[in-house]
């Protein structure tokens, strides 16, 4: 870990100012990803601005019937919050599918969005990596790429976004509230993260100095028909190879609205509203689920060690839509 200056921000404006003034400064909250990356010398900020004492921890109702999650609310507090569990159980399940209890107790909602890929080449400073050091090449493309992306990739980068919470937030169409040197912005969740393109060093669309202050959940939480299906090499405490977040609004056996988001397959949670539209007004049957699965995986490209993800994702989508319809929970869920 490099030596750094540590300051504690007492106000949001100070926090923003400190990081805007110093481009090598980083915010630290839970620290569960940043400190890990600093120990590996992947991240080497000269200054850490501790934002944990800022008044951004509240979870509160919004006038439109939605719910606002403070950026500093911990993942655990959020997952177990009665309003989240009742109105947005998809989000609860997704959060609880990730990491460990200890990590969920420390990690913050804002930080969960900011976490970086777990590509082992990104982590290994001895290997070429365009995300870590632009222009050096992508070691994963021709290397061991079991955990890597099959959708939205580029020649520069095939890393995945590792978060479970973000897959649910994408399905729920959350909005990210940020504040920065140029004022406040609201970023629709599906526009927060980006695809690698030819600039994989940028995970998201935040501008320098911007701080996430809260996440807004819309009134529709799909609490009656949802599932978060996570497929991984271990039964617990492992990242997704493929995961699926589903929310359905059913009218008898007919689907009125569907959201399907994929994790573990791209640089950001993967959603295709055109694929979801295929379910609108249709009966909730396997035949229709399969059509959505095909549409969602259109353009999928496998690499030497991860082609299995294409078929796995399709089957997972069909399984998840079935589970959401019948409301049977996947085997492992707390």
């Amino acid at each position: 870990m490099n030596s750094f200056t540590y300051t504690r921000a007492e106000a949001v404006a100070t926090a923003v100012h400190e990081t805007t003034a110093d481009p090598t400064a980083k915010f630290i909250a839970g620290g569960t990803n940043l400190l890990d990356l600093m120990k590996e010398n992947v991240e080497r900020p000269d200054r850490l601005v501790d934002i944990t004492r800022l008044p951004l921890q509240q979870i509160e109702n919004l006038p439109d019937g939605g719910l606002r999650l403070g950026a500093l609310a911990t993942n655990a507090h959020t997952a177990y919050h009665p309003e989240v569990a009742r109105r947005y159980p998809l989000l609860s399940k997704a959060i609880l599918a990730g990491a460990s209890a200890q990590l969920r107790n420390m990690a913050t909602d804002g930080g969960n969005l900011m976490q970086r890929t777990r590509c082992y080449y990104f982590y290994d400073t001895a290997t070429p990596c365009n995300k870590r050091e632009p222009g050096t090449g992508c070691s994963a493309v021709g290397g061991y790429n079991r955990i890597h992306a099959i959708l939205g990739t580029s020649e520069s980068c095939i890393a995945t976004h590792p978060s479970d919470m973000c897959v649910a937030l994408a399905a729920l169409e959350a909005v990210v509230n940020v504040t920065g040197p140029d004022g406040e912005r609201r970023i629709p969740f599906t526009e927060f993260h980006r695809l690698p393109g030819d600039a994989p060093q940028f995970d998201n669309t935040l501008r320098p100095g911007e701080l996430i202050t809260s996440l807004d959940l819309p009134p529709q939480g799909f609490a009656r028909h949802y599932t978060y299906l996570k497929l991984r090499d271990r039964a617990s405490y492992a990242f997704a190879l493929v995961s699926v977040a589903v929310g359905l609004e059913l009218d008898g056996d007919t689907i009125r609205e569907a959201r399907v988001a994929l994790g573990g397959v791209a640089h950001m949670p993967w959603r295709q509203p055109e694929a979801e539209a295929l379910l609108q007004g249709q009966p909730a049957t396997t035949e229709h689920f399969q059509r959505v699965a095909e549409a969602l995986l259109r353009g999928a490209k496998g690499y030497s060690a991860n082609t299995f993800k294409i078929e796995l994702a399709k089957r997972a989508i069909v399984r998840a839509l079935g589970l959401a319809t019948s409301m049977q929970q996947p085997t492992y869920s707390v």
Binding site: S3, Y6, G31, T32, A101, N105, M106, Y332, V334
Partner: protein
Amino acid sequence: MSVPITTAPVRATAVGLPPLHELTLTINGVEKRLQTAPWTSLLDLLREYLDLTGTKKGCDHGQCGACTVLVDGTRINSCLTLAVMKDGCHVTTIEGLSQSDALHPVQAAFIEHDAFQCGYCTPGQICSAVGLISEGHAKNTDDIRELMSGNICRCGAYPGIVAAVEQVLKNEELGMKNKELKMAG
């Protein structure tokens, strides 16, 4: 001619001392005023500066749980926490769980159920179990396994660990029921 060997330690040259931040931590009930560099993890503070070596360093990356302690009653990985960030908090380590000679119920249950072999993961397992119990979300054996999944045991003592946690939860439930009966008269 042999090279002369100096016995005097080499002095640090251009690099100055790190800035030392003051912080106050209440550790196992005792308030301590400390000074530390900002990059010192809570784990290293406990082990290297306070000689509280009960908490173990397994992976130092938040992946094994051997460093689990309770901060303000909540279980966390102390290796992924900067000590300075916990200024003002209450920290409970494995050393602080027992009351004088009486073992904490979780410690006693671990012995009764053969929940450790080499013992290296054990302080983290016990602190994690104490956290799990106070969180109150484990309703059955599968829940215990899932909620303890952040603590790894290379010796494979998992069945004993789960049995120990299960017993403490059952005893707590019995204890609550007895209380209710007593209060009902």
